[in-house]
């Protein structure tokens, strides 16, 4: 039997939550760390606005995803696995997943907002605590659920683990295309595809003046038409905005409301920084916003506060003049 971890490394599979962390490396850490028990968690908390690739996989290929989870459990010696589903997905998929999952995998409903999907917040939630991020290190692979080494991977990552095991992997990934897209949906294409080609091949090249948000409808980066000759790093999500129809202030308000509700309010820069950004949006005055970006990016406790800056920063720079 060929070692699956070797295969993951060979295929250079990267985490599909958007983190781009090398999957093989993460598995290696969990496998090599001495730990009384080990756990595997499938993170299906998909919480970014207008992003639905994991939804698509859970709906159409639950058995492939679960096969990936079981491969991880067997490879890493984990007795127990969890699927952590956001509330809507839990409603919709619980019966179907339960029938395939078997006894060894427990299905857990997501708690809290957007931050509830951050990997250490997921661990807190499964342990029964409020879904707030932990301080890293230690990483979940070192000390995760109940202090034991824990693998946390995204739905799509597990899907491709199963594919790689069956030698059925063609360096592809799933892209969800939403917003004002003419042909919304989830599409499988090579990892190397440019955004331009992706839009063309999916009949999504807009005929109107547009801009994009790439990497999620809350924390994704704003991109202009002249920037799309490149591949997507991070989360496979593209949102198309019709420039004429889109009220920039309203869009920023939507982001900031989502983030303020979705963050955990634990650390000063993310809690207060976002609050003041909200105020600035309401007043339409961005003179002091750079300072908010600075402390959020440099001093936030978890990745959320750091990436939450991206949409505002890129939109203000590229579109707000």
């Amino acid at each position: 039997m060929v070692d699956i971890i070797l295969k993951l490394k060979e295929k250079q599979l990267l985490g599909r939550s958007g983190s781009m962390f090398p999957v093989g490396e993460k598995w290696e850490v969990v496998r090599s760390i001495p730990s009384e028990k080990k756990y595997v968690v499938c993170n299906a908390s998909e919480g970014e606005i207008d992003t639905f690739k994991d939804y698509y996989l859970l709906k159409n290929y639950p058995e492939v995803v679960i096969d990936g989870i079981l491969i991880a459990m067997d490879t890493l010696g984990a007795q127990k696995g969890y699927i952590y589903l956001n509330k809507d997905y839990y409603q919709e998929f619980f019966p179907a997943l339960k029938s395939v999952a078997g006894e060894r995998i427990e299905i857990v409903e997501k708690k809290g907002g957007y931050i509830g999907g951050e990997e250490t917040a997921v661990i807190e939630a499964i342990e029964g605590n409020p879904p707030e991020p932990r301080i890293k290190p230690p990483f979940p692979s070192e000390k995760g659920l109940w202090g034991c080494s824990t693998l946390v991977n995204n739905v799509e990552t597990f899907y491709f683990v199963s594919k790689i095991k069956k030698d059925d992997y063609r360096e592809s990934r799933f892209y969800s295309i939403g917003g004002d897209a003419p042909n919304r949906g989830v599409f499988e294409f090579p990892e190397s595809i440019t955004i331009k080609d992706l839009l063309e091949k999916t009949d999504n090249s807009p005929s109107f003046d547009y801009f994009l948000q790439v990497g999620g409808g809350a924390c994704g980066e704003v991109m202009l038409e002249n920037e799309i000759n490149r591949k997507i790093d991070g989360l496979g999500s593209v949102i198309i905005y019709d420039r004429e129809k889109t009220d920039i202030n309203l869009l920023m308000k939507k982001w900031v409301d989502f983030l303020l509700v979705g963050n955990c309010d634990k650390c000063t820069p993310c809690r207060e920084g976002l609050y003041r950004i909200m105020e600035m949006i309401e007043k339409g005055n961005y003179d002091e916003i750079e300072d908010m970006f600075y402390v959020m990016e440099e001093t936030s406790l978890c990745p959320l506060g750091k990436v939450a800056v991206t949409p505002f920063k890129t939109l203000l720079k590229k579109i707000w003049k």
Partner: protein, 566 residues
């Protein structure tokens, strides 16, 4: 293992936090929400340092071998400055009305980093004030969301303070759950860096005891105050200032100053009597009850253990009763004309004196409780030169206390006193788990297991153990606050483990200086028994009380405008 801090190599151990290593080696890192009693919450983001160019909170980041750490740079200063401005934007300043008035970390940092404290408007200025019984107030417009209060409340096993959603944001609030209530330990006060918590009357009430001019004001001073009051005047931690305190109180116009340890000798005698009785009747375990926060904890959270609380009143209540019922008669005063004020390290004592069942023929033994901080403030306001004042002597109508009585101020003191009173030698304790020390002794040919517990969270553990094994301990002393009363919620701030140690050292010195060691050898106390406490009825009236199951108390909420009016 070693790390490099600002270019200098320093030794570290695995698992240590950057802040610990830096402080040990003399590197300064500013901190705000960090408190050594608590797990680092890492919420304020002021203690950030740069590790390989990335900013991390030094309070919670573990060192790794070879780590290169920079504790200061223009970039770090900028981050700290902006984060401080954001913290100030949620903190309504009321500096004149704040327990941190003279040693506010937030203001110190503001000066250090050139912070514009009013850069943003105070977003919480309309947040309400919550009133917890007769003991505590929480002004949520000052809260900076660090959650230290929630952590300490959890550590105390109380979990009364919690996080609640408020629109976009969360806020710290008292729990609305029926099975959660404040037990008034006041540890939130000394763990809040923003001064959001204070005692009832902390500022506006300090002159109340002197308001009724026709009354004679009698102060009685708790043991634990003598080794802390000096801190209010900049004396080193652990300084014993009994004599200075007595003279200072007299300067305020106090008529008599009594010593609570004398009351403690009565508590000791009564409590050791009850212990012997309970041993004979096999009615164990027995719990101490001097700590009113612990009593409320049992009454609210563990009512099944109410019969285990000793019926003996706490020392200042006994002494208050003796002052009003005995001393007054002897001296020809009318008890209604006395204003008995207890100077306490504690805010729960403010609640204790309100307990109806302590009244003696319709009169409260104690009329008012002032904390160490409050008396410190009043002395400063009155211009008393504490540092240079000549040392005075207590008025001791019932004689001087034993050393045992003074020891009440620190964890273990009550237990040692009661046991020492009935035994030839002192019990030898060893710590078996955090905050729990035990000793095994022989009393009346029975093996008796003693336990001394401080910190309510630890007491909760012990109660859970007793539920499973009622024989685990036979006599248990509990003090709600870490270290006992020297770490009380009414004491000077700051408070931490190091400071508590110093205070304890001071108190031990004061204990050792007493001529009499055991309560039962205190002839003047015995004289009071002969003279006044000669019947069971008198003893029961002055020295004993009862407890009962209590429901959740009402938390009053007031809006900002009426805040200063009460």
């Amino acid at each position: 293992m070693e790390v490099i801090i600002n270019g200098k190599r320093v030794e570290t151990k695995e698992g240590e936090k950057i802040l610990t290593v830096a402080e040990r080696n003399g590197f300064y890192i500013p901190v705000l929400c960090f408190h050594s009693d608590l797990c680092a919450m890492a919420s304020c983001r002021i203690c950030v340092v740069a590790v390989n160019g990335k900013f991390v909170p030094s309070c919670s980041t573990e060192v790794r071998n070879g780590m290169e750490i920079t504790t200061n740079s223009p970039a770090l200063e900028k981050a700290r400055k902006i984060n401080l401005e954001l913290l100030f934007s949620q903190h309504q300043e009321e500096c004149d009305d704040c327990i941190w008035n003279l040693n506010c970390k937030m203001l110190d940092l503001a000066k250090e980093y050139g912070v514009e404290i009013n850069r943003f408007w105070d977003r919480k200025s309309h947040y309400p004030v919550y009133h917890f019984g007769a003991s505590l107030e929480y002004d949520s417009s000052k809260c900076i969301d660090c959650r230290n209060c929630i952590e300490i409340c959890k550590k105390q096993g109380v979990e009364f303070l919690e996080i609640k959603g408020r629109g976009h944001l969360f806020e710290v609030v008292p729990s609305e759950k029926e099975n959660r209530d404040c037990i008034y330990c006041g540890q939130c006060i000394n763990h809040c860096p923003a001064g959001a918590f204070e005692a009832v009357g902390e500022f506006e009430g300090i002159e109340k005891p002197f308001a009724e001019k026709e009354k004679k004001v009698i102060f009685q001073v708790a043991p634990a105050v003598r080794s802390t009051i000096g801190e209010e005047f900049g004396l080193p931690y652990g300084s014993v200032s009994t004599g200075k305190l007595v003279s200072s109180l007299r300067e305020l116009g106090v008529d008599k100053v009594f010593d609570v340890p004398v009351g403690a000798d009565f508590t000791t005698i009564e409590e050791s009597k009850e212990l012997l009785e309970r041993i004979e009747k096999n009615n164990l375990p027995m719990f101490t009850s001097c700590c009113p926060a612990w009593v409320k904890f049992v009454e609210f959270y563990y009512p099944e253990f109410i019969p285990n609380l000793t019926s003996v009143r706490s020392p200042h209540i006994i002494l208050g009763g003796l002052i009003k019922e005995h001393f007054a008669k002897k001296e020809g005063f009318i008890k209604e004309e006395l204003m008995v004020v207890s100077l306490m390290p504690c805010v729960a004592k403010k609640h204790e004196i309100e307990r109806e069942e302590l009244m003696i023929d319709g009169v409260r033994p104690v009329d008012y409780v002032m904390t160490t901080r409050e008396v410190g403030r009043l002395l400063k306001k009155s211009g008393v030169d504490f540092g240079n004042i000549k040392e005075g002597e207590m008025d001791n109508p019932f004689g001087e206390s034993s050393g045992s009585g003074v020891a009440y101020g620190t964890s273990g003191g009550v237990m040692q006193s009661a046991f020492y009173n009935i035994s030839e030698k002192e019990a030898e304790f060893r710590e078996v788990e955090e905050g729990v020390s035990v000793a095994e002794v022989e009393v009346k040919r029975k093996k008796i297991r003693l336990a001394v517990v401080h910190g309510l969270g630890n007491a909760k553990k012990v109660l859970e153990q007793l539920k499973k094994d009622p024989e685990k301990y036979h006599y248990i002393e509990v003090m709600a606050c870490s270290g006992g009363c020297i770490g009380g919620g009414g004491q000077s701030v700051p408070t931490d483990e190091k400071i508590r140690k110093e205070r304890k050292g001071g108190l031990c010195k004061a204990t050792g200086e007493k001529k009499i060691r055991k309560a039962k050898d205190n002839q003047e106390v015995i004289a009071v028994y002969d003279d006044f406490l000669s019947s069971e009825e008198a003893i029961s009236k002055i020295c004993h009380t009862r407890y009962y199951k209590v429901g959740k108390s009402f938390v009053r909420k007031s809006e900002q405008k009426e805040k200063n009016g009460d």
